[in-house]
Symmetry: C2
Subunit: 517 residues, 2 copies
């Protein structure tokens, strides 16, 4: 969409104003936060164009394509300022590093782990771990990366990756951490109550926007202390800035969020990490360096980290100030502001049933196997998982032997055999209790919020139960097999009579329709 | 689809075996019930072909076309025995008599009244009244029609339309009657729990498969008495046979159902009618003669009526014996038979909100106007309508001044102004109490049944409430107007900042995110 007319600004080529490799070895990175002059030019350029509206997918059926959504509006922002290459490289990286995902949004890339992959093991393979990016994928040479530390620290400083990884200079840690997009299970909210579309599409996540890995790096607390001499007394928050480019309401930014300094003080909670499951970070996950904030919403775990600021207040970056806010249900398009929602940081307890999937037909012998995940943030661990075969009336505890081990900052995968006698449509649900005795709200309505975050209500699926231990059902299954048919598709009519005329007559005579008198 | 290979059977052309005008002046009628030889040939012909499965629309989004569904399988049955003309004439009749409907199924024709038309007045205009046909539309000359009366009557007889309409021979009656398809509001069941697809598609009806008219005709009781000398003591049911052609599981039939004789004994309950709202019946509604059974499921009101049989048992026709059955929720494809459901005859109390429609955004001043219908069958009339702004917790009675008058056999239209303070997504619902103090089940789940009939649960809609009496909302509406935008589409992001930086800072200082200590 970027035509000849927008190749330049006041005679200067855009590629010169906003170089794709703004520093040697830093491809796909453009400095915005220190360059108000550039921000001003972008503001002007974006004003001159009309951009397509985000596609309507909340009040309409979701496309069945993969990628599900294209992100045309966000692509057009990049194209309007000559950064088409960022768009192209992002998708090339997906095809290389993440070929087997459910691609919810092509650009910026948002991809969800397929459910069968999610259940494979406690640690999610790097190639399968979900990704929620807010911009393109910078390609930064590890040797070229310098991390700047500034703001309310005793000694502003720059450190190289070589120094950071030198275990004689900085103590290292490995922590098992579940990262979760606060949009996980957003589809459930959308189905009942559409909400904010956002210009950077609020992706229609299912149950797969969560994953677990062992991250290796240096605690941020130690970096601040050893490299910068510690923070000044006024410091309350640590801002983390990434090299990716982000747009919001006609302005351009580098990605910026913050974490309270109180959280940083716990060594294991905020790592500057370069390894994921024993391997270098994939590019799409932030290579060469990212923050990983344990127990928090994923959005604070800044990728392609290159700048750290000690602040008295939270970051004023739009991702921190204007997004990932949690609203009461009476707030929406008609009255929502930034300050009437609160910032989502620690994640609440939540869980999901991954198998069976919603609206499945299950032929069983009186037990149905369920599998899923359970997680709580903030350092609370998962204590107990309960499942219900009747929409939340009766609950069965999952045997702890059928759950993966406890971690302070990671999920537990679980499976269980649920006793099921009844046939027809049943509603199964799951709820989890964490180490603080917190559990989940019962219905999606209890959790609904305008920005469609944190779908932490008891996860519900509808299952069509066919209990082959019941004689009438066993007989019908046999008839179906004789006719070369199956139970699915459930709504396809049976091609043979349901009952012969003699049986019908005998039944009618035993139980006539009308009373005798 | 009928190719040269199937134009004939054992050397005889199909058009000769199954003539389109089986009796002079009876077009689109073929006698099946008295012609077992013909039924046998059809059975053979249908066995020789493969027919397309009904389309899957329950587990998939409903097409947004009009007609919504084509009915290809049922068309193919007709084509396979040389009756393409029946298919063509049916649609021509729709275009002539029913051009402004929501056409849910092209063939056999199933069309629903648009909601704004349904609310216009107590009596539904003939051109707008819903239609649920089971086959094509016969074109029968009034002068050529003879109605045969047989079975357990004292004197089998044939009567002409001329005699029937002669008020010196038969007493006439006019009754205001609501007819309702038992599939009304089926969409609500499908959305949560798909069910039987049926080979004659179970149309995805909304709230418009209901309508009211004044029918004029002769009470069936009087016809039996005066023309046939009355029924024999063994008679318990009266079978009503229509001239349309119907298929079920490889067999062909004329449309046949029955009504208990006890019901026929009430003069006003079962009419043989030729007038609808003071005009001759439209062809698509059964011209020249139909039965109208007040208080019953619409399916008993046989169109193109030409044969009446007094029986000891209900009709063995598939529409009576194998369809319109009401099942307990644990019955379905895995175990359903004809005799484990009961026959739907009298209709229960039910109601619907027609305005606003589901998922509307409503800007209001503290009150939202609702409109709808309320009905009960079996001679029970509507006593009270109640609406709830909160999913069924608090109920408000509709003022009787805002309801149309009472009838024994007809609905009441109603409207009300519901006090609404709250903003955001609300769930409104309606329930009705009839003269027997019956009311509706609370949730769709309570009413779900495999054949997806009788969705009599409290009708629920989700509405996004925008209360312009709230200062923050009034301010946002002004901002939207200044930007040339509106509240809809609701999910389209606001293009301007939600709050300026100064306000944000002032709010943050007043209510910081983290505690001080």
């Amino acid at each position: 969409m970027a035509t000849a007319a927008t190749d330049s600004y006041e005679g200067k080529p855009l590629t010169q104003l906003f170089p794709y490799e703004d520093r040697p070895g830093w491809k796909g990175y453009i400095e915005w936060e220190d360059r108000l002059d550039r921000k001003e030019v972008v503001r002007e350029l974006l004003k001159r164009r009309e951009f397509p509206h985000p596609p309507e997918f909340q009040f309409a059926p979701l496309p069945t394509t993969n990628p599900v959504l294209g992100g045309e509006r966000f692509k057009a922002y990049h194209e309007a300022i000559g950064l088409n290459q960022i768009v192209d490289v992002s998708w090339e990286t997906v095809l290389k590093e993440k070929p087997n995902m459910t691609h919810l949004l092509q650009f910026p890339y948002n991809g969800e782990t397929k459910f069968e992959d999610l259940m494979k093991e406690k640690l999610t393979d790097n190639s399968l771990h979900f990704v929620r990016n807010h911009g393109g994928v910078p390609y930064i040479d590890e040797d070229a990366l310098e991390i700047s530390i500034g703001g309310l620290v005793k000694q502003p400083v720059k450190i190289t990756m070589k120094d950071l990884k030198d275990s004689t200079k900085f103590p290292q840690a490995e922590v098992t951490i579940t990262l979760q997009c606060s949009g996980t299970r957003r589809r459930e909210q959308i189905e009942q109550y559409p909400g904010d579309g956002d210009e950077l599409i609020n992706a229609p996540w299912g149950e797969g926007a969560i994953g677990t890995a062992v991250y290796k790096g240096v605690p941020l607390k130690q970096v601040l202390k050893i490299a910068a001499g510690g923070v000044l007394p006024e410091c309350q928050h640590i801002e983390l800035i990434g090299a990716d480019t982000y747009f919001k309401k006609g302005e351009v930014y580098n990605y910026a969020v913050s974490v309270p300094y109180r959280t940083v003080l716990m060594n294991e909670r905020v790592l500057l990490a370069w390894e994921m499951n024993g391997k270098p970070l994939p590019k799409i996950h932030g290579f060469p360096l990212r923050a990983v904030v344990a127990g928090y919403i994923g959005a604070r775990s800044t990728k392609w980290l290159y700048k750290i600021n000690a602040l008295a207040e939270p970051s004023m970056g739009p991702v921190q100030r204007q997004e990932y806010l949690y609203y009461t249900p009476q707030l929406g398009k008609q009255n929502v502001t930034y300050s009437n929602g609160f910032s989502i940081q620690d994640m609440p307890v939540s869980s999901a049933i991954l198998s069976p999937t919603d609206k499945s037909v299950i032929i069983h012998d009186g037990h149905i196997e369920l599998q899923g995940w359970a997680y709580s943030g903030g350092g609370n661990w998962v204590e107990r998982v309960e499942v219900s075969p009747d929409g939340g009336h009766v609950w069965y505890q999952v045997d702890p032997d059928d759950m993966t081990e406890k971690h302070y900052y990671a999920w537990r995968l679980w499976k269980t055999k649920l006793p099921v006698d009844a046939e027809g449509w049943l509603e199964f649900c799951v709820r989890t209790w964490d180490s603080s005795c917190n559990t989940e709200p019962t219905f999606v309505r209890s959790a609904w919020n305008w920005d469609l975050h944190v779908t932490s209500s008891a996860h519900r699926i509808k299952v069509y139960s066919v209990n082959k231990m019941k004689p009438a059902t066993a007989r019908r299954l046999k008839e179906l097999a004789e006719h070369g048919q199956g139970m699915e598709p459930l709504s396809r009519p049976l091609a043979f009579p349901l009952e012969n005329a003699d049986e019908y007559r005998a039944n009618y005579e035993k139980h006539p329709r009308e009373p005798k008198n």
